[in-house]
Amino acid sequence: TENFVGHQVLRISAADEAQVDKVKDLEELEDLQLDFWRAPVHPELPIDVRVPFASLQGVKVYLESHDIDYSIMIEDLQELVDEEQLHMSRRHFM
């Protein structure tokens, strides 16, 4: 089963089209294993991306080096997955 320990979901706010394109460049790098929950489209729309732990440092450095604003939407995805599983299993025994 896929494990999401350390995976974070970042919310990226691109200031302009050029920054959107910079994020799109990231999308092309398949090794990063990025999973765009909300695709990079245009500056008015937020970009949400799940970043595996191994890619986190590189992605954050890349965004910061291009002055692209981001925040952390989900600190550790596995925690939410575990919580969800616990809720479902608890429901089994209600």
């Binding site: 949400d48 939410l80 809720h87 479902m88």
Partner: protein
């Protein structure tokens, strides 16, 4: 023993539990609800829909589907609540009763069963189907890029490893083909609502082209009415508009195809939230999300009832 009353609507469920729920529902009121298998998924799972009908032959109909993107769990969970509301509402809720006295309603709760099973067994983040792509190690096709509407133009990917991979050809996915065949054989569907998450949007055609839909003005006005009804319950704010102007160009999409089949009232919802939990929406938000969405769905169904075409 599990029953319609003891079923926990405020929790997420796996595929077997949802299919059991559908059987419970059909057994509860066979005069109103029946389960129809419209096909088999790539991995051989039955593709089941619920039919709510109070009689008549080939009556005009309304179609609602949830879960075409398997990781969007709040949609399948909302579909379960909608089914219960239809079961309970007939004979009690004037609006539901009036709609069902004139229309059949088809509800497909798990539109991507293979993907949904995979989110429970192997990868909670799985979105696509589970079909094998020859020549690639990557699995699955985006079932919302696989329809024969602008198939292959900008707005989908030709890369099997992409989350928006369109597939080798239109309707290549049995999960999509099953609906296409059903819609074509039925021939009298008047409204088609495909429910996704997240972003809190109500969208209408087109996604693959900037060409305006012929009924854009009516669809926009109806979307506003539906969104206002939705917001009235918990204050949840939605945006609305055509797919291409509101989010992005997306080709091969479900409601572009249904609209081009002549189904005027074709809409896509993107349910809660706008980006706190995203696809991991806590189960505590299932009921409020489903309740508010139901108000919007009723507006669309009532409008369809009152504006025959």
């Amino acid at each position: 023993p599990l029953s319609i009353e003891t079923f926990n609507y405020a929790s997420y469920h796996n595929l077997d539990e949802i299919y059991d729920f559908m059987d419970l529902l059909a057994a509860e009121k066979p005069s109103l609800v029946s389960k129809i298998q419209i096909g088999r998924s790539y991995e051989g799972r039955p593709i089941n829909i619920l039919k709510f009908s109070t009689g008549g032959v080939k009556r005009p109909a309304i179609w609602i589907d949830t879960g075409i993107h398997s990781r969007e769990w709040v949609t399948q969970a909302s579909g379960i609540v909608f089914a219960k509301k239809l079961l309970d509402g007939y004979g009690k809720d004037a609006s539901v009763t009036s709609i069902l006295d004139h229309f059949d309603i088809f509800l497909e709760i798990v539109t991507n069963p293979d993907g949904f099973a995979f989110t429970h067994s192997k990868n909670r983040m799985w979105r696509k189907t589970r079909s094998i792509n020859s020549g690639s190690s990557c699995v699955g096709v985006d079932p919302n890029r696989n329809w024969d509407a602008g198939f292959g133009v900008a707005g989908s990917s030709g890369n099997p490893c992409s989350e928006t991979y369109r597939g080798p050809r239109a309707n290549s996915e049995p999960e999509v083909k099953a609906i296409v065949d059903f819609v074509k054989s039925h021939g009298n569907i008047k409204a088609f609502v495909s429910i996704h998450s997240y972003s809190q949007l109500l969208l209408y055609p087109f996604g693959y082209t900037s060409k305006k839909a012929a009924d854009a003005q009516e669809l926009d006005a109806l979307a506003k009415k539906a969104v206002d009804a939705l917001s009235s319950l918990h204050g949840t704010q939605y945006k609305y508009g055509s797919i291409i102007t509101t989010i992005y160009q997306a080709s091969g999409g479900t409601i572009d195809w249904t609209y081009e089949q002549g189904i005027k009232y074709s809409y896509t919802f993107e349910l809660r939230d706008t980006g706190r939990y995203g696809f991991m929406l806590p189960a505590s938000q299932i009921i409020p999300t489903a309740e508010e969405t139901w108000l919007a769905l009723k507006v669309i169904m009532e409008h369809t009832r009152d504006h025959p075409y």
